[in-house]
């Protein structure tokens, strides 16, 4: 499969809307898990699975837990995805 085209932020926004079943979600860098309705541990796993599959990337075990921890937000999540997509070649 070729690299997904289009902005990663847009694609991530669509994935968020699918996983949280909310078409109003607009991703902003400063958002955290607490700002998204229903971002519980199950939804978190669903999100990880959807993102991994869509971008054909893989998060490390520590990264999966890290995404919800102190100091992490949508901005750092997007940066991580961007890094993994670029490294994918």
């Amino acid at each position: 499969m070729t690299n997904p085209t289009g902005d990663i932020r847009d694609q991530m926004q669509t994935l968020f809307r699918n996983v949280f079943v909310d078409d109003e979600i607009v991703l902003r860098d400063e958002m955290t898990a607490a700002d998204v309705d229903g971002w519980d541990s199950l939804a978190h796993i669903n999100l990880i699975i959807a993102v991994e599959k869509h971008f054909q990337i893989k998060f490390a075990t520590a990264e999966i837990s890290g995404l919800k921890s102190e100091g992490q937000n949508i901005g750092t999540f997007l940066a991580l995805v961007q890094k993994k997509v670029s490294a994918r070649k």
Binding site: N18, L42, I45, N46, K53, T61
Partner: protein
């Protein structure tokens, strides 16, 4: 809606999520105005090999839809006890069971509480009182593991102890709940510390798990079905089956992508226990059993057999179908063809694996396939919802799905080399056990076809029945026949007066209770052995024999078996000092066949309710033996 469905089904990669989104939007709109129709569309989408995100989204939609559908008659209560997080698995199992026509109510305990829930009589499990209990450990919860230094004798002991621990849990749960139990076996890890010698060394973990899995199968009583997780893991590929990241994070039992297959596999067993398994495989011919069109290409022109790769694929498909027939699946043909030309291929093509005598009902004509499928169900005296229809032509599949949504219609790939797996992965013909009756069923249906021929050549029905030289054996329910009895109880729909789906465990208790009378009838005739074909469960109360269950396999209809059974029943009732027999009829969508059963046998109506349920009584004082042509032969012991 149909466009959105086909767009979704054919979409791949990133397009699939988009197509799913659009489809879900339409479905939600439809659910608001017509939830029943939306439920039908959803059922059609629920194939066994969905990816995680899709089945998750559909499961969420099902939860909102089921609220709109209102309280469905939950036909079974399913309890799930796991040593891992069962949350997603449970919701997927529930979703697939909805698709299989068996809505269930599910109870889950927190993970890791299998023993506590079963041993503590005040646990949530016993408050819930399930019909079916699914015990879901995985290899991480094996209670025992051999050390390399353990002696062979010690390893033998560990295997025995592991199995005894599970066996003890089964019996405790079953004594308290009378429920059917589904028990996971164990998936060996992909890593092998003894490398190539995992199976060779007496203390190898892979060897230990393989031995435990075999011993579990051997130790399982009739009320326990071992769910083969080991097979799921091997079929997925051990290296990809487990994704430890998701175990460490979320205690998921396997990689998320295989959860749908896992849930489907469990659901198929629950559905079989609930009487929802399929009975008959209906096959198209051209490009389904051979390559090409027999009417155009002729016997020499169709692709079938060695020397042609596709021809070999069709032979393999026929071998698979033949194996299904040999384990009791009824075969039928439904083909748009001239009858004589279609039959000629069976009679004359040297590479045909399937023979005409394998086919219980052969329909080749130019009528539409929905009409023909109804005809096949009628002729075989089974429900349309017991049929699986296999056809390479997407137009025929779409027509049958639309006109007969009760029929299961698997998608087939274009390449015939993919037919077997496409059909097999649905596990349509799942059973809770495999008994000798299953292995003989094909021969029984063939004998039935010969009987119908004989009936045609006999002018008078009495002459015909006499010519059958029927012999019946009457026996109580025993440990030897309980599997077949339980199977009849879970599967018989038409000749079934009360359709009470008692578990094997419940029936065994009745058999051991002196207040109960259990009776089974096995019937043989000049054309062959029909096996155990009728079951009666009745209880003595205040000098009356109350019939709880009376059912019979439809393949021995109109043979006078009912009269014979009643005579036996009267005899037993008198021996127990009864003065009357009471029966009841509970109408269902499928048992209109027996709504006049009791009056036909001379019972008098006692009462009825507006729902159509009726109660009947036969006084033993005046009851004389009813005439029939069945000779009783002594029981085995």
């Amino acid at each position: 809606m149909l466009d959105a469905v086909s767009a979704f089904v054919s979409a791949t990669g990133a397009d699939r999520q988009k197509a799913l989104r659009e489809l879900l939007l339409l479905l939600k709109r439809m659910a608001a105005s017509n939830p029943v129709e939306a439920a039908g569309v959803l059922r059609g989408l629920l194939v066994p090999d969905l990816d995680y995100s899709t089945v998750e989204a559909l499961s969420r939609f099902y939860r909102s839809l089921s609220k709109r559908l209102g309280p469905q008659a939950a036909t079974k209560k399913l309890a799930i006890l796991g040593s891992f997080t069962t949350h997603q698995l449970a919701s997927f199992i529930e979703l697939y069971l909805f698709a299989m026509g068996l809505p269930v109510e599910v109870y889950e305990a927190d993970y890791g509480l299998i023993q506590q829930e079963i041993l503590d009589p005040s646990s949530g499990l016993y408050a819930f009182r399930p019909d079916i209990l699914f015990l879901a450990p995985n290899r991480r919860s094996l209670g025992r593991r051999p050390a390399n230094s353990d002696s062979p004798v010690r390893v033998d002991e560990l295997v025995a102890e592991e199995v005894a621990a599970w066996s003890s849990l089964w019996h405790t749960a079953h004594d308290r709940l009378d429920c059917q139990i589904i028990q996971n076996n164990f998936d060996p890890p992909p890593s092998r510390s003894l490398s190539n010698h995992e199976m060779r060394h007496h203390a190898g973990l892979a060897r230990f798990i393989a031995r435990v899995n075999l011993a579990l199968q051997d130790a399982a009583p009739p009320f326990v079905t071992i769910h083969d997780v080991d097979h799921l893991s091997a079929a997925a590929g051990r290296w990809t089956w487990g994704d430890d990241r998701f175990y460490f994070h979320a205690k998921m039992p396997c990689a998320p992508e295989f959860l749908a297959a896992y849930a489907h596999s469990v659901a198929s067993i629950v559905a079989a226990a609930g009487g929802k398994a399929k009975k008959c495989l209906v096959l198209d011919l051209d490009n389904t059993l051979w390559g090409g069109v027999i009417g155009d290409d002729g016997i020499g022109g169709i692709r079938l057999g060695q020397g042609d790769a596709e021809g070999e694929a069709f032979v393999a498909m026929q071998h698979y179908v033949k194996d299904l027939a040999n384990r009791g699946v009824i075969l039928a043909v439904c083909s748009k063809n001239t009858d004589s030309i279609a039959r000629e291929a069976f009679e004359r093509h040297p590479e045909m694996v399937l023979k005409l005598e394998d086919i219980a009902c052969f329909v080749a004509n130019w009528d539409d396939k929905a009409t023909n499928l109804r005809r096949i169900a009628r002729q075989l005296e089974i429900g349309v919802d017991s049929l699986v229809f296999v056809d390479d032509n997407p137009v025929e599949r779409a027509l049958v799905r639309r006109l007969l949504p009760e029929v299961s219609v698997p998608e087939l790939p274009e390449d015939p080399a993919g037919y077997i797996l496409a059909l097999d992965r649905h596990a349509y013909f799942q059973t809770i056990s495999i008994g000798s009756e299953d292995l003989q069923r094909g021969a029984m249906y063939q004998a039935n076809a010969r009987r119908q021929q004989a009936e045609l050549s006999c002018g008078n029905i009495d002459d015909f029945l006499k010519s059958l030289a029927m012999k019946a054996r009457v026996e109580p329910v025993t440990r030897e026949n309980i599997e077949r009895v339980a199977q009849l109880i879970s599967r018989s729909n038409q000749f079934n007066l009360t359709t009470r789906r008692h578990s094997a465990a419940t029936v065994m208790k009745m058999a051991e209770d002196p207040a109960w009378l259990t009776m089974t009838i096995s019937l043989a005739d000049g054309f062959g052995d029909n096996g155990l074909i009728s079951v009666l469960l009745a209880k003595v109360e205040a000098k009356e024999l109350i019939i709880d269950t009376w059912l019979m396999s439809c393949r021995v209809l109109k043979r006078g078996v009912e009269a014979f059974v009643l005579n036996c029943l009267c005899r037993s009732a008198r021996m127990r000092g009864c003065t009357a027999i009471r029966g009841e009829y509970i109408p269902t969508a499928k048992n209109a066949l027996v709504n006049e059963h009791y009056p036909n046998l001379g019972f008098e109506r006692v009462s009825g309710d507006p729902g159509g349920q009726t109660w009947w009584r036969l006084s033993l004082a005046g009851a004389a033996d009813l005439p029939n042509f069945i000779q009783e032969i002594p029981s085995h012991d």
